[in-house]
């Protein structure tokens, strides 16, 4: 995965990865705040928000969150690739509880 020519950029790679982790931590918080927006909106005429438009808004946010997570998970996947191999698990080594 890492060719011998990349070492100068290793630090930058891991820096990117760490910032990506930060982003992954922040995303649900932003998502939560965005999902609360319908609480603070109402139609000035009727005094009530339109269920349809709020629904569209919520689904749009939902989709955006999914898309963002998808983007990030592609980067974060690297963390698992390096050390991990699927351990064998066919043998019972004596857990008897």
């Amino acid at each position: 995965m890492k060719s011998p020519r990349t070492p100068p950029f290793l630090a930058r790679d891991s820096y990117r990865l760490r910032r990506l982790m930060d982003a992954a931590r922040f995303l649900p918080i932003f998502g939560f705040v965005l999902l609360l927006l319908p609480l603070m909106r109402e139609d000035p005429e009727t005094g009530a928000a339109s269920t349809a438009s709020e629904g569209v808004y919520l689904f749009a946010i939902w989709l955006a969150l999914i898309f963002g997570t998808w983007l990030m998970s592609r980067g974060l996947r690297k963390v698992f690739d390096e050390p991990e191999k699927t351990p064998p698990k066919t043998l019972d080594a004596g857990r008897k509880d």
Partner: protein
């Protein structure tokens, strides 16, 4: 549609599930389970979150409350979007510690406390049983909705009967695929694959109905949105409190629901799958909820007033003449219900068997002194029984509660119940200081408040909680009213219960953790859980690929010996029908080997070693603790041995010393005897020779006779003196000497000694240098003996001083009560090598004839001085021979004899 057709469809569907599950099991057994472990299957299995309550109920929920139904999916979406924070850690810990359920997770984090396991299990059962009942109800309900022909009405109309059959069928399925084997990781490929299939069925069903509604009934999305707004009720207005609270609540529930924990953590085979599920599962939920509101709106528009909105998914296609869609929807609901019931009963049964039944059974057996024997079959049977019990409870709950009203709200009530696990769970993940006591207190307090403020009142006033308690509070105290504790009246009952139970739970959890002191294993587990990432590869480094029989053989040889190990392996191979030394690595063989090794190194170590070699399992902290305690025992034993051997070697050293001393004494004695005989023999020889000459004295002149007689006389005197000396020495050495202690003037004693010693080599003139003033000391001691010492020293000086003009310097010093006298001559002194010998018996440095003594003088002097409580030493480097005599000024009897033993 006929009831029989419906039943046939169900049976065909169930048969498909069986086929898929057994196919998956077989692939897994053959090791061809690659596709079973794909992230897709993992993601789809997570859909057990979407139950029949979701499938049917969401539309009803939307019809009643508008967008609020979305909260049930938005909360989990946020959790999965933030998977990096909580889920990743949860899954990693769960996999590395081979956690079998959420109760196991909590109990193993807090020091493998079974108490916590029991608490969590009971909580999960009390929250889960009504939930299972809800699924049974929805299946039964969907049957009755569907069946229209009169003939089958007696059967199809009997919901209780249908629920019973469904419960029994599900119990059968779960037992077959959930307890096929007792896997170390508690993973069930058959079940998971079947669940994944069901996830597809329910999604397709709901999407099909949704697409039909939006594009078949309505005129596309725009028209749909307009129709939704047209149907909007005032109640559809989003309520801020419930909106926020329900998002949080469902976010909590996705982590703490036992069935979610089962598929999310226990059935996870690879951390990486979570990265896919992080976006794929929200996508699934997105798709599931996309058409809920349209179906609800169209249902409200087209269905007659009073129709149950919970059943719109089926009744709407039915009413519009789309029986095929309705059947698909029925199957979707059926699959949603069955998947939930299967996983939930599996998870609950695992908890019940692991934390309640098996510990109890073991305790009973131990109490009766019976061997615990093979646990494998027992655990499987217990689990089968537990599944039946859990489903039986669900069915019982359903028949008892009967009406749908009590059950409709049970989904969220169960959410609040399992949410009580959250503080302990988060503490387990992120707070090392969280303690067992805190977790137990928090769980119990939270569960109690949940039961009092939500679960019990949900049955209705007067069913469990008396009406007056509901109205006036417990014991008539208004601030204890279940729905408004402490006067909190503005929250609706659900939020009210969520708020109070989690608040008190977290408070008790924190306080309990602050004030209690965790046990060592608790702290170790805490560190292990919280710092799971800090030791990358530590646990995994132990999980090597599966052990080869060769490796095991070489390990066993190291422990039980080459011959014995090879014999054992050969016998095991023969038992498997194989020739040679290398049997197949079967669990049975490993168990036998472990037992064999345990005989040598102790059970815990053997288990740890096998686990390491087999590479399947992380060595648990308990294993390590057991190893440590065994090691401690061995160390204690060996330190005892060490102490014993040290004592032995000490004794041996003493014996050796004593032996050396004895040998030296024996040598001394021999030397002494030979010296004595030599000393006695010399004068005797001359006496004999001269007396023989005298006897034949015929030709001897008188002068000659006189001379010979004088020689004989001298020799006999010398002999007598020698014998006197020996006697003296013997008396002195044995401390039998009678000391004549009296006051005396030191100067006079020295005067006397000088006078006496003048007779020795009287021709030599000695210059004596002394200070008479210093010598004017009155002493109380045996003056005669002291003078004897002085005479000896002075005589020696006269004999051996090599100087042409010999001088003797006598110095007297008084140091408090001690008198020191230095006798220093100006001769050549005594060679350093000989200085240590001069006080020994017969240690004459020069020829005996020249000295004219037996060499006992200084030995006697030393004995005398020691009898007088003093000493005589040789002081080197004084320009000649120098002897220092020291003794107490006043001798107090009995004299403290130094080294009397010698």
């Amino acid at each position: 549609m006929s009831f029989n057709l419906l039943v046939l469809t169900c049976l065909a569907y169930v048969a498909l599930l069986f086929a898929v599950a057994s196919l998956a099991e077989r692939s897994a057994e053959d090791g061809r389970a690659g596709w079973l472990r794909s992230p897709l299957v993992y993601t789809l299995s997570l859909s057990v979150y979407c139950t029949a309550w979701t499938f049917y109920g969401a539309v009803g929920y939307a019809a009643r409350s508008g967008l609020e139904f979305m909260t049930i999916y938005l909360g989990p979406t946020l959790v999965f979007v933030g998977w990096w924070v909580v889920l990743r850690k949860l899954v990693r810990i769960g996999r590395e510690n081979r956690v079998t359920s959420i109760a196991d997770f909590i109990s193993s984090r807090y020091g493998k406390s079974n108490l916590l396991g029991v608490i969590v299990t009971l909580l999960c059962i009390s929250a889960g049983t009504p939930y299972i009942a809800l699924q049974l109800q929805s299946i039964a309900q969907s049957f009755t909705v569907f069946v229209t022909d009169i003939d089958s009405a007696p059967v199809a109309g009997d919901r209780t009967l249908i629920a019973l059959w469904v419960a029994m069928g599900l119990a059968f399925f779960t037992i077959v695929f959930g307890t096929r084997n007792l896997d170390a990781n508690e993973q069930h490929h058959g079940v998971v694959t079947a669940i994944a299939l069901e996830a597809v069925v329910k999604l397709v069903a709901l999407l099909a109905v949704g697409v039909f509604v939006v594009w078949g009934v309505a005129d596309g999305p725009a028209d749909m949105l307009a129709r939704i707004d047209a149907q909007a009720l005032p109640e559809w207005q989003i309520q801020p409190g419930r909106w926020t609270g329900l998002i949080l609540l469902s976010a909590i529930a996705i982590i703490t629901l036992p069935r979610m924990f089962q598929v999310l953590v226990v059935e996870n085979v690879n951390d990486k799958h979570l990265a896919t599920a992080s976006w794929a599962f929200p996508t699934y939920m997105f798709a599931i909820s996309l058409f809920v509101l349209p179906i609800a709106a169209i249902g409200m528009e087209l269905m007659p007033a009073g129709a149950n909105p919970d059943m719109f998914v089926m009744t709407l296609p039915l009413a519009l003449g789309r029986d095929d869609l309705a059947l698909l929807a029925f199957l979707g609901g059926f699959s949603a219900a069955t998947s939930m019931v299967i996983v939930a009963s599996l998870a609950l049964a695992t908890m019940v068997s692991n934390h309640i039944v098996v510990p109890l059974w073991l305790r009973l057996r131990t109490a009766q002194g019976q061997d615990t024997g093979d646990m494998r079959l027992l655990v499987l049977n217990v689990r089968r029984l537990s599944i039946s019990i859990v489903l039986g409870l669900g069915y019982l709950y359903y028949t008892l509660s009967g009406g749908s009203e009590a059950l409709a709200a049970i989904g969220l009530i169960a959410f609040v119940g399992v949410a009580q696990i959250l503080p302990a769970l988060l503490g387990a993940l992120f707070w090392r200081g969280a303690s067992r006591t805190g977790a137990a207190l928090g769980l119990v307090a939270g569960a109690a408040i949940w039961a009092y403020t939500l679960l019990l009142p949900s049955f209705g006033a007067g069913i469990i909680l008396p009406a007056h308690v509901m109205a006036d509070g417990l014991l008539g105290l208004p601030w204890l009213r279940p729905y408004s504790l402490f006067g909190l009246t503005t929250l609706d009952p659900l939020l009210h219960a969520l708020f109070w139970s989690l608040l008190v739970n977290a408070l008790a959890f924190c306080l309990g953790s602050f004030l209690s002191f965790p046990s060592p294993i608790e702290r170790v587990q805490g560190a292990l859980f919280v710092n799971i990432y800090d030791r990358p590869g530590l646990a995994r480094s132990w999980s090597r690929p599966m052990a080869q029989a060769e490796d095991l053989l070489s390990m066993a040889q190291r422990i039980i010996g080459v011959k014995s190990a090879q014999g054992f392996f050969q016998a095991q191979a023969a038992a498997q029908g194989k020739a040679g030394f290398l049997p197949d690595i079967t669990p049975e063989f490993l168990e036998a080997l472990e037992l064999k090794l345990a005989g040598s190194v102790g059970a815990a170590t053997a288990h740890a070693m096998i686990a390491q070699s087999a590479g399947t399992a992380v060595v648990s902290v308990e294993d390590l603790m057991a190893v440590a305690s065994e090691t401690a025992q061995i160390m204690e034993y060996s330190s005892q041995l060490e102490a014993q051997s040290e004592e032995l070697s000490r004794t041996a050293r003493k014996l050796r010393e004593a032996n050396d001393k004895l040998r030296k004494l024996s040598v001394q004695k021999d030397a002494f005897l030979s010296q004595i005989s030599h000393e006695l023999r010399t004068p005797m020889t001359s006496i004999r020779a001269f007396s023989e000459i005298l006897m034949e004295a015929d030709g001897l002149s008188a002068e000659e006779q006189a001379h010979f007689a004088e020689v004989i006389h001298d020799e006999s005197i010398r002999l007598t003196r020698l014998l006197d000396d020996l006697l003296d020495l013997s008396v002195l050495e044995h401390g039998q000497v009678q000391l004549d202690v009296a006051p005396a003037n030191l100067r006079k004693l020295i005067d006397q000694a000088i006078t006496s010693s003048k007779s020795v080599q009287a021709q030599r003139h000695f210059r004596i240098l002394r200070s008479r003033d210093d010598e004017e000391v009155m002493i109380t001691t045996d003056g005669g003996r002291l003078t004897q010492v002085f005479i000896n020293i002075l005589s020696n000086a006269r004999k051996y001083c090599t100087s042409e003009t010999p001088e003797m310097h006598i110095q007297v010093r008084r140091a408090q009560d001690l008198i020191e006298i230095d006798f220093t001559d100006n001769g050549s002194g005594i060679p350093t090598a000989s200085q240590s010998l001069i006080f020994e018996k017969f240690s004459r440095l020069t020829d005996s004839l020249q000295a004219g003594g037996a060499g006992l003088g200084l030995a006697i002097c030393r004995e005398i001085m020691q009898n007088l409580g003093g000493d005589i030493i040789y002081v080197p480097g004084q320009g000649g021979a120098s002897f220092r005599v020291s003794f107490p000024r006043v001798l107090s009897l009995p004299a403290p004899r130094k080294d009397a033993a010698e």
